[in-house]
C-alpha cells in the first residue's frame, strides 16, 4: 500500500507547489498593475497618508503638508487656497486630484521612479519619506492682481513670459478653496464637493487652460499672421463692405464698428476689428493657410502638459462660408485663454513660440534637482511679420478698439474680441495683449460679460484687467 501512498504524496506536493507558484505570480507579475489600479484604495490611502512635498510660487508655499494626529497623519493644506486653486488643483480623499496635484502626484508623494534612491535611503535610515518640492513659475504679485481684477466676474487670466514660456499668472474665477476638499473630515469634504459641483458658476472648471471658448475677433491675429506670412503687408488693401453675404448662403455678415463700405488696409481693419475685411482675407488665404498658421501657434495640439491643458481647435473641412467665419474666430473655432496668450507671446517674441510651462523645477527633500525645465522654442512666423504684427497690435491700443489698455511709457499691443454662441446669453469678452521691456503676454477672458456685443465694449471690460496685470509686472 506504500507506493500508492508515495504517489499520492507526490500529488499533494504538486498541489502545494501550485499554491506556492501561484502566490509568487501574484507578487511578481500582477503587483504592478494591481497597485496602479485606481480602485485600489490601499494604494490611494497610503499615498494620502504621505508627507507630500510643497508647491511653491516664488518663495511662497501655495500647497504644503502639516502633521496631524489622525489616521492619515499628514494634512494637505493650501495657505492661500482660493488664490492658487487653478495652479495647485485639489488633493481630496474621495474626489481624486487635479492641477499640479494630479500631474506631479508621484513626485509630490515621493514615489516617482526618479526618487527610488531617496526611498531606499529612507528605508534604511528609518526616516519618514518626504515628497519632492514643485517650484512653479507663478509670480505671486501678478496672480494676486489678476484675481483682484477679475473680482466677481466669471473668467480667466493667463500671463506668460514670452521669452521663456513661463506662466506668470493663471487665474480662473470663480475660484474655490481646495482646503475644503482636502480636509480629512470626509463628510465635510463630501458636502463641499456637492456644493461646488452644484454651483452654477462652475468653480471647479479651470477656465484658464482646460476650457475652450470661441475666441471671436482675437483670432484675427492668427488670420493677420497668416496674411503677413503669405506676402501681404499691414498696408495691403482689403475689401471691406459694410455687409457681406456669405457664399452659398443667405447669411449676411456685418461689422460692429465703423469700417466704411470700401476698402481698409489690414492695419486699419485690425484696429477697427472689421469682420468683412478679415472674412475676405480668410477667403483669399483659404482654410489651409489659416489652419497651418493656427497650428504653428499651438491649435489642435496640447499646448502645455503640466496641467493637461485643453487642445484649442481650428475646424477641419471648411467650405467657403465656414472659412470666412473661421477667419474672424467664429463658427467652430475655439481656444483657451492660455492658447490666446501663446499667440500674443509668439508675436511679442518676434515670432518664436516658447512652449508654456508651469513647473520650472522639481527638487527632492535634500534639494537635489530631479527635473528642471529646459529652453525650447519654435518659429511661428518670420521676425519681419512678427514685428509688423506687433506694430499693428500697438496701433489697436493706441487708436483702435483697445485704448482702455493704454499704459503711459509702456509699449502695449493688444486685440479685443467678443463672441456669442447663444443669443440669449451674454457674450464672451476677450483681450489679448503684450507689453515690451520686460516682455509679457496677457490674455484676459470674461465668460459672462454683461455688455452689448461689440469689440469696443469687450475691450472696455477686459482691457483694463490686462493693463493692470501688465502694470504689476513692471
Amino acid at each position: 500500500m506504500n507506493s500508492p501512498i508515495r504517489r499520492t504524496a507526490l500529488v499533494a506536493s504538486i498541489l502545494f507547489l501550485a499554491l506556492l507558484v501561484n502566490v509568487s505570480i501574484v507578487q511578481l507579475w500582477r503587483q504592478g498593475s494591481l497597485s496602479a489600479d485606481d480602485r485600489n484604495r490601499r494604494v490611494l490611502d497610503a499615498e494620502f497618508a504621505q508627507n507630500r512635498g510643497a508647491i511653491l510660487a516664488g518663495d511662497t508655499q501655495i500647497a504644503t503638508t502639516t502633521p496631524i494626529k489622525d489616521r492619515f497623519r499628514y494634512q494637505r493644506s493650501y495657505p492661500q487656497g482660493s488664490l492658487y486653486a487653478t495652479v495647485t488643483g485639489w488633493y481630496a480623499y474621495d474626489f481624486g486630484r487635479s492641477g499640479l496635484e494630479a500631474k506631479y502626484s508621484t513626485e509630490l508623494a515621493g514615489t516617482a521612479s526618479s526618487q527610488t534612491v531617496d526611498r531606499l535611503v529612507d528605508l534604511f535610515t528609518g526616516a519618514t519619506p518626504v515628497g519632492a518640492t514643485i517650484q512653479t513659475t507663478i509670480n505671486a504679485k501678478l496672480q494676486q492682481v489678476a484675481t483682484q481684477q477679475l473680482g466677481t466676474k466669471k473668467g480667466a487670466v493667463v500671463a506668460i513670459d514670452p521669452t521663456t514660456g513661463a506662466i506668470l499668472a493663471m487665474v480662473s474665477t470663480p475660484t474655490y478653496d481646495p482646503n475644503k476638499l482636502a480636509t480629512h473630515d470626509l463628510a465635510a469634504a463630501r458636502s463641499a464637493w456637492t456644493t461646488l459641483n452644484a454651483d452654477p458658476g462652475k468653480p471647479l472648471s479651470d477656465r484658464s487652460t482646460r476650457e475652450i471658448y470661441p475666441p471671436g475677433s482675437t483670432f484675427k491675429l492668427v488670420t493677420a499672421a497668416a496674411a503677413l506670412e503669405n506676402g501681404m503687408t499691414p498696408d495691403t488693401l482689403v475689401n471691406t463692405p459694410s455687409q457681406l453675404t456669405l457664399p452659398n448662403s443667405s447669411s449676411v455678415l456685418g461689422n460692429e464698428s465703423n469700417c466704411g463700405n470700401t476698402q481698409q488696409t489690414m492695419d486699419q481693419a485690425l484696429q477697427l476689428s472689421c469682420n468683412t475685411a478679415f472674412a475676405n482675407l480668410g477667403a483669399t488665404l483659404g482654410a489651409e493657410k489659416i489652419r497651418a498658421q493656427a497650428e504653428k501657434f499651438g491649435f489642435d495640439s496640447t499646448p502645455m502638459t503640466d496641467v493637461n491643458a485643453a487642445k484649442s481647435q481650428f475646424p477641419a473641412k471648411l467650405d467657403a462660408a465656414q472659412t470666412m467665419l473661421s477667419a474672424i474666430g467664429q463658427y467652430d473655432v475655439a481656444a483657451s485663454p492660455l492658447q490666446m496668450a501663446m499667440v500674443a507671446a509668439a508675436i511679442c517674441n518676434n515670432g518664436v513660440l516658447k512652449t508654456p510651462y508651469l513647473v520650472s523645477e522639481v527638487r527632492s527633500a535634500d534639494l537635489r534637482v530631479l527635473y528642471r525645465h529646459g529652453p525650447d522654442g519654435k518659429p511661428t512666423m518670420s521676425t519681419a511679420s512678427a514685428q509688423a504684427l506687433q506694430q499693428m497690435m500697438v496701433n489697436v491700443v493706441q487708436k483702435g478698439t483697445g485704448t482702455k489698455a493704454q499704459l503711459p511709457g509702456v509699449v502695449v499691443g493688444g486685440k479685443t474680441g467678443t463672441a456669442q454662441t447663444d443669443p440669449t446669453k451674454n457674450p464672451y469678452a476677450w483681450f489679448v495683449s503684450f507689453a515690451k521691456n520686460p516682455d509679457i503676454a496677457v490674455a484676459v477672458f470674461i465668460e459672462d460679460a454683461n455688455v452689448e456685443r461689440n469689440d469696443i465694449a469687450g475691450g472696455a471690460l477686459a482691457g483694463p484687467i490686462a493693463k493692470a496685470v501688465i502694470q504689476a509686472s513692471r
Binding site: 501512498i5 502545494f16 499554491l19 506556492l20 494591481l34 485600489n40 490601499r42
Partner: protein
C-alpha cells in the same frame, strides 16, 4: 528523518523527541504571540494592559495540551502539535488584529480562543477515550451514511446560503459547516470499508487496454460518492467541497488498491459531472468567469479583487502586523484570512503558512507509510489528503488559482465547527502516529537477530508466532515497507492476519489471549539513539 536504525540496520525505531517537540511547540506559540505583540506595538505603540493574562492563557493551553498528549501518546509525532499551534496562533493573532479595526474593537479573537479550548478539549478527550483507534473501523457503513447525511445536510431546510454557497447549516443560533465533520467521518468510513474490501477491489475485474477495470458490483460506492459530489456541486454550489470529498474517496480507493484505473475513472466521472454542471447551471459559468476575469465586474467580484489588492499591497515581505488594510477585504477573518496574512506578512509569510500546512500533510502521510495496519494507513493517508485538498481549495481560491469556494482555512479562519473538527482530525492523526511510531515488539535478543540475518544459509525455525521471524530481503512486503515498518512483524504475514493478532496493543489494553506473555514486553528506546 525522525527514525533511526538500531544496530543491525533492520529495526526502525522512531525517536520520541519529547524535548524537541516541546521546543518546537514553544517556538510555534512564540510566533503567534509575536503577532499579538507586534500588532499592538505597530498600532498603539505599546502593549495592552492585559498582555500577561493573554500570554498565560496562550502558553498555558499549549503546555497543557502538550503534557496531556505526551502523557497519553508518548510516541506520537512530535511535529504535528507544534505545526497546529503555529497555524492557530497566527490565525488568532490575525483575527485579533482585524478586531482592532472596528471602533470600538471587536472581541472575535476571544470567542475564537474559546472555540480553540473546546477543540483542544474534544481532541484530548478523543485521545483519552479511544483506547484503540481500530475500534473506529467497525462501523464503516453507519459512518458512511452519517457522513453523507452531514455532507448533504445544508440542502435540508436547516441549510443557509452564504456568499453564494449553501454549505452551512444554522442550528440553535449557531452556524456550522457540516462538511468539516463529514471529512473526518467519511475518512473513517472509507478507511474501514477499504481495509475490508481492498483486495477484492484490487484483484477482480476485467482488463481493458492495460487497465484492470473494477467490477460492476464494486462500483456502487464510487457511484454513490459521485452522485453525492455532484449534488454538492450543483445544489450547494461549491466546487471546493465537491472536489474535496470526491477527491478523498478516489484517492483512498487508489491508496487501498494501488490501481490507477480508479483514478482515471474518478477523474473522468468528475470531469463529466463538472462539464455537465457548467453547461446546465448558469452559476458555474459565473463562478468560472469571476475566477478568470474578476476585474470585468468590480462590484460582484469585490472580495476577490480586494484580496488581490491586498496581496499586491503586502508585496514580498508584507506591510507588517497591524500596518496593512486587511479590513478592506470582506470576510478577512474567515474565508479570506490568508489574504490578510498575505497583506501583512507578505508573500513570504503566506508561503511559510502554506509550508506549515504542507508539513502537517507530510507528517500525516509519513504516519500512513510507517503504520502497519491497513486501516491506520488508509485513515492517516485519507485525513492527510483531505486536509491537503481543503488547503489547496481555499488558498487556491483566495489566490485565484481555482474558482473560489466557501471552505474554511483549517485552524486559522474564524469559526467554531471548523476549529473543533480540525482538532479532531489532528487528534486521530496523533493517535495513529503514536501507534505507528511505537517501537516494535521486542525481539528475543539483539545479537540473535543480527547473526541470523547475516547468515544467509541458516535455516530458521519460525516460532509459533510467525511475526517474530527475522526479516529476509527476498520478502516482497519487506521491500515495499522499507524502513517504515519494524522488520520483526512484516515478514510473511499478510497485514490483515497480522492485525488480527494485534501485536500493537496499547499499554493499558486488555491482554490478548492469543499473545504469548513474552511478546508483551516492549522495546524501549532511549532518547538520543
Amino acid at each position: 528523518m525522525s527514525a533511526t536504525a538500531v544496530s543491525t540496520g533492520d529495526a526502525v525505531v522512531h525517536r520520541r523527541r519529547p524535548v524537541i517537540g516541546l521546543l518546537l511547540l514553544v517556538l510555534a506559540q512564540v510566533i503567534g504571540a509575536a503577532g499579538y505583540v507586534l500588532t499592538h506595538l505597530d498600532i498603539d505603540g505599546r502593549l495592552p494592559s492585559g498582555w500577561p493574562v493573554v500570554f498565560l492563557a496562550w502558553f498555558g493551553v499549549g503546555l497543557a495540551t502538550y503534557v496531556l498528549v505526551r502523557w497519553r501518546l508518548p510516541h506520537a509525532d512530535p511535529v504535528l502539535l507544534p505545526a497546529t499551534f503555529l497555524l492557530v496562533g497566527v490565525g488568532l493573532g490575525m483575527i485579533h488584529r482585524i478586531d482592532l479595526i472596528a471602533e470600538p474593537a471587536r472581541h472575535d479573537a476571544e470567542t475564537q480562543f474559546v472555540w480553540l479550548l473546546l477543540g483542544i478539549v474534544t481532541a484530548v478527550a478523543l485521545v483519552f477515550l479511544v483506547k484503540d483507534y481500530r475500534l473506529l473501523r467497525r462501523f464503516p457503513y453507519v459512518l458512511f451514511l452519517a457522513g453523507l447525511v452531514l455532507l448533504l445536510l445544508p440542502l435540508s431546510p436547516l441549510g443557509v446560503e452564504l456568499n453564494g454557497s449553501r454549505i452551512w447549516i444554522r442550528l440553535l443560533g449557531y452556524s456550522f459547516q457540516p462538511a468539516e465533520v463529514a471529512k473526518l467521518v467519511l475518512s473513517l468510513a472509507f478507511a474501514g470499508y477499504l481495509a475490508d474490501t481492498k483486495d477484492v477491489l484490487a484483484m477482480a475485474g476485467p482488463r481493458v487496454l492495460g487497465f484492470t477495470l473494477p467490477r460492476a458490483r464494486d462500483l456502487g460506492p464510487i457511484a454513490v460518492m459521485w452522485v453525492a459530489s455532484l449534488l454538492v456541486l450543483i445544489y450547494q454550489k461549491d466546487l471546493g467541497t465537491s472536489m474535496l470529498f470526491f477527491g478523498l474517496f478516489v484517492a483512498m480507493v487508489y491508496v487501498a488498491t494501488g490501481r490507477g484505473s480508479w483514478v482515471v475513472l474518478g477523474a473522468l466521472l468528475f470531469a463529466a459531472g463538472g462539464w455537465f454542471a457548467y453547461q446546465k447551471f448558469a452559476y458555474v459559468g459565473v463562478r468560472v468567469s469571476s475566477w478568470l476575469h474578476p476585474f470585468s465586474d468590480y462590484d460582484k467580484n469585490y472580495q476577490v479583487i480586494q484580496a488581490q489588492f491586498g496581496f499586491a499591497y503586502g508585496g514580498l515581505l508584507g506591510r507588517g502586523w497591524g500596518l496593512g488594510r486587511p479590513g478592506l477585504t470582506p470576510l478577512a477573518k474567515s474565508d479570506f484570512i490568508t489574504a490578510a496574512i498575505g497583506e501583512e506578512l507578505g508573500i513570504v509569510g503566506l508561503v511559510a503558512v502554506i509550508l506549515v500546512y504542507g508539513i502537517i500533510v507530510a507528517r500525516g502521510l509519513r504516519t500512513a507509510l510507517s503504520c502497519t495496519q491497513p486501516f491506520g494507513k488508509l485513515l492517516s493517508a485519507g485525513l492527510s489528503l483531505v486536509f491537503a485538498l481543503q488547503v489547496f481549495a481555499i488558498i487556491g481560491g483566495v489566490t485565484r488559482l481555482l474558482p473560489l469556494t466557501g471552505l474554511t482555512t483549517p485552524f486559522m479562519s474564524q469559526g467554531g465547527s471548523s476549529m473543533v473538527a480540525n482538532w479532531l482530525v489532528v487528534a486521530v492523526m496523533l493517535v495513529v502516529s503514536n501507534d505507528a511510531r511505537r517501537p516494535a515488539v521486542v525481539r528475543e535478543s539483539e545479537a540473535d537477530v543480527a547473526s541470523l540475518s547475516a547468515d544467509a544459509t541458516q535455516v530458521i525455525s519460525v516460532p509459533q508466532l510467525r511475526r517474530s521471524a527475522p526479516r529476509t530481503a527476498a520478502t516482497p512486503s519487506a521491500v515495499e515497507e522499507e524502513q517504515g515498518a519494524p522488520s520483526a512483524q512484516t515478514v510473511v504475514v499478510p497485514e490483515d492476519e497480522m492485525e488480527a493478532t494485534a501485536p500493537f496493543r496499547l499499554p493499558d489494553a486488555p491482554p490478548n489471549p492469543s499473545q504469548p506473555p513474552q511478546q508483551s514486553q516492549r522495546f524501549q528506546p532511549e532518547e538520543g539513539q
